[in-house]
């Protein structure tokens, strides 16, 4: 569990360090961010398929519980 906490802390620190550095991006400056390729998940349909395949072959938590997915008992 040590590593978990450490990583969580690292990420939080990273976020915290980044936040103040963010200059305000005005809505009209968000043209690039609004492009489809900049979507957090540009291919959601494929992502769910891939997550299902990984989930049936790997033991790590996908962070996607509550989405179903069946036994994957093969």
């Amino acid at each position: 569990m040590m590593i978990t906490k450490l990583t969580a802390l690292m990420l939080l620190l990273m976020m915290a360090a980044t936040l103040p550095a963010c200059s305000t991006v005005q809505p009209w400056e968000r043209g690039n961010l609004a492009k489809p390729q900049m979507a957090l998940d540009p291919h959601p349909l494929q992502s769910s398929l891939r997550a299902h395949n990984y989930g049936s072959r790997e033991a790590a938590a996908g962070g996607n519980a509550g989405q179903g997915g069946g036994c994957g008992c093969y």
Partner: protein, 905 residues
Amino acid sequence: MRDKEVVVAVINKNDKVSSLKALTATALSLPGILSPIAHAADGDEVDFQYSHYQEGKRDISVSEVDGSSSGISGTKSFNPIEVDSLHGSARVSLTDRVKFAFNYLQDTWGGATPMATVPYLASGNRAIKNTADALTGASPYAIAGAGLKNLFLGSRSNRLFQTDRVDPNTGLPVFKNDTRLTHVLATASPETRKQGDFKLSYDWDNAAVSVGGGISIEDDYDSRFGNIGGRFDFNQKQTTLNVDLSYTNSYTHATLDHDDYTKKSLLPSRQLTEIVGESGTTIEKTIIHGTRQDWATHFGLTQVVNKDVLLGADFSYTRSTGYQSNPYKGVAIAFVDNNPDSNTYGDLPPGVFPTQIAMFTEQRPDVRNQYAVGGRYVQYINALDAALHFDYRFSADDWGIQAHTFEGDWVQPLGSGWTVTPRIRYYSQDAADFYAPFLISQQRYTLDRLVDPNKLPAHYSSDQRLSGFGTLSGGLTVTKQFAKGLALETGFEYYTHQGGLKLGGGGESAYADFDYWVANAALKVNLSALGNSGAGHASHDGHAGHQHGAHEPAGVMFAHTLPKAGDFMVGYRYMWNSQGGDMLNGTSPVSDQAVVDRGCTETDTLGCFLTPESMSMSMHMLDLMYAPTDWLTLMLMPQFVDMQMGMRGLDGAQSIDIIPNNLGHHITHHIQNPHETGGIGDLGMYALVKLFDNGLHHVHATAGLSAPTGDVDLQIRRAHANDGGYHDYGMQLGSGTWDFKPSLTYTGQVDKFSWGAQANGIVRMEGKNKSGYRLGDMFQGMAWGGYNLTNWLTATVRGVYTVQGSIKGQYNGSSVGQFFNPNNPKEETGFIRVNSQLRFGPQDYPSNYGGRFWDVGFGLSAVVPSGDLAGNRFSVEWLQPVYTDFNGYQLDRDGALSATWGVAF
């Protein structure tokens, strides 16, 4: 799209402040600005996706046990896991702020997968050979002392096997150390999982809440889940926080074969139900069951860093309690005999002790707490108009598994609507604390019920998913966005799992390595975009109603053409067909005895033993239409089918014991486990030619071709060391032949009344398919009438007459006798080659297919009259059998349901 309309209205005020607001609103409404749940609100969309998962062959060792040879050899495994998946989803705005999303998923999978791990020289996989002595398969054969060769344990727990050599000095046998391992593979017949889920969300300007839920059902596992979530935007939407909470309740109820090799005697009694046979002593079947609950919570933060960078962080925690084992996985345990009987083993060198290996069902802990933290970085690359996505995730649990995932995507738009996305992913995990490829226990094995559990660990599993390994995968996604809101997406991924890829080394050895590839294709229809482009089209096209098929019953195919050149239509068609009730011969119900005596007509017949009790088929079809000219409409119809059949024993049938070579035991499996098949069906390609159209009457002819893309060689898994043979003809997914499908259709409409008639047929254009038979030709005639109840709803009634021929030919290799092939010299148990299809019931005989049928259909058709979804058509029809005259002996018909959706643009 509504946001845009609002924007236009605001700008028209010519107010500078409002313009700014409007621009802000536009920017904020664009995709990508919002959080991950935003893609549920990117506009109304309907998507269809098909994917195929194919595992590669694994390295295993097989043994020959025919007495002539005791060789152990390495080979590639046979028939690895395949999965066909279908995913349909719809996202629609119910109001400006209320969105509804729905998903339907269906997987059919089958093939060989590891059930346990044993020492290489103990094998555990028995060779299956054909008459030419060539290796054609392997089946698990892991009975202690029989299938598994004796392993001896030396000092320092060396794994020793006896050689043929004798030490000349001591006169004692020579042993060699062999540390290699092999999987024992077991084959599963195809099984289908179906899942439906939904999400309802409400959006405020700077926040959203959602509630969702769903259910996933397969033969041995049900899962129900619900979730609530919220999204909160801060700081002018530069920061977004997502919070989700979900609950899943899953129930495992796995029926294990009575000849299953894994022993269940160590399982807690609450997980076990044993059904005792009529004799009162033998256990006919064992059910392993258990309930599992998962609570999961997830926090996600997304931050706009600057105009080119997005940053995300996630934290999730999942607590799982209850039954978390895989009921089909076993752990091989080597029981050490510290006081060996020299009559059995002879004199052994000092320090060498014999073991007996037996397999026991795995047992995992009842509680698992998992944590995951992740970060995501998205960078816009100005020079290339591309985006780089980088993700990292760390996950840990109290089973001792820590895992790292790294993933990078490069999303590259190429112009003209093309986008290419290469990606790479690396994953590494430690083994679970209780993972062991196999176990050694310091106790002598006699009976599994006498094993002392105190000399075993509390939990154990040999499941490869809990071992230490790394995986590397890479793939490519290609997307083409067409005008009018249509997009095609296709992807390919290759994945390799290797013990040697584990971070820091120490992964499982190479015997457990495997790989897979997945290919998928998706069609995405953006309804909002269609609505826009089609708005003018719909208004000028006053008679679009009948042209686009609002009035045809849902079950009628090829019922309409597209009105003019350049038109498209996308549709989805679902058909469900059910059989049940009495067995019929011709038009009359018959007794079991009649089926036994006359339903299985074959030379040297022992009669029928079982009969279908229920049968259902679902078909999902995509309806893609395009009119290159005013008079011609082209149509492509891919299909996805799945079938299920339940069987029962026949009263008056002979005892299954008279069936030679233990083959009768297959009957028990047939009755206990419903048969399931599924996957892609045949692909239809059609040309519809308009012959006459005066607005009142319309006639068109259709010429169609059906390509044999559906499987016709699906087989039942082996049991009792014998092949199950082909599934019956009705359970195959396609015809296996190229088929010609002509039809002629007439439709008419006056005022509120509409009507139509159609003649259609199927002509098989080949003598037989690759499995040796062909389905009968078919002719169908029908007429229907419709009445508009309102301007958007039509009621229909239809009469249908169908003639379907019986099957010609039969499965390859099933020409002589009901069970035997006397030309086959090899009849020893373990090598017995029987008919390719074991014929136990009427469904196994080609003459028991086809017939003459009358049906009456009642339907409703609706078209959305206005709003964003204007022009979308839905129809549903129930087809009720009124007259059935079967060829031979068949199960009565219950009826058929058709439902369709379509939109033209």
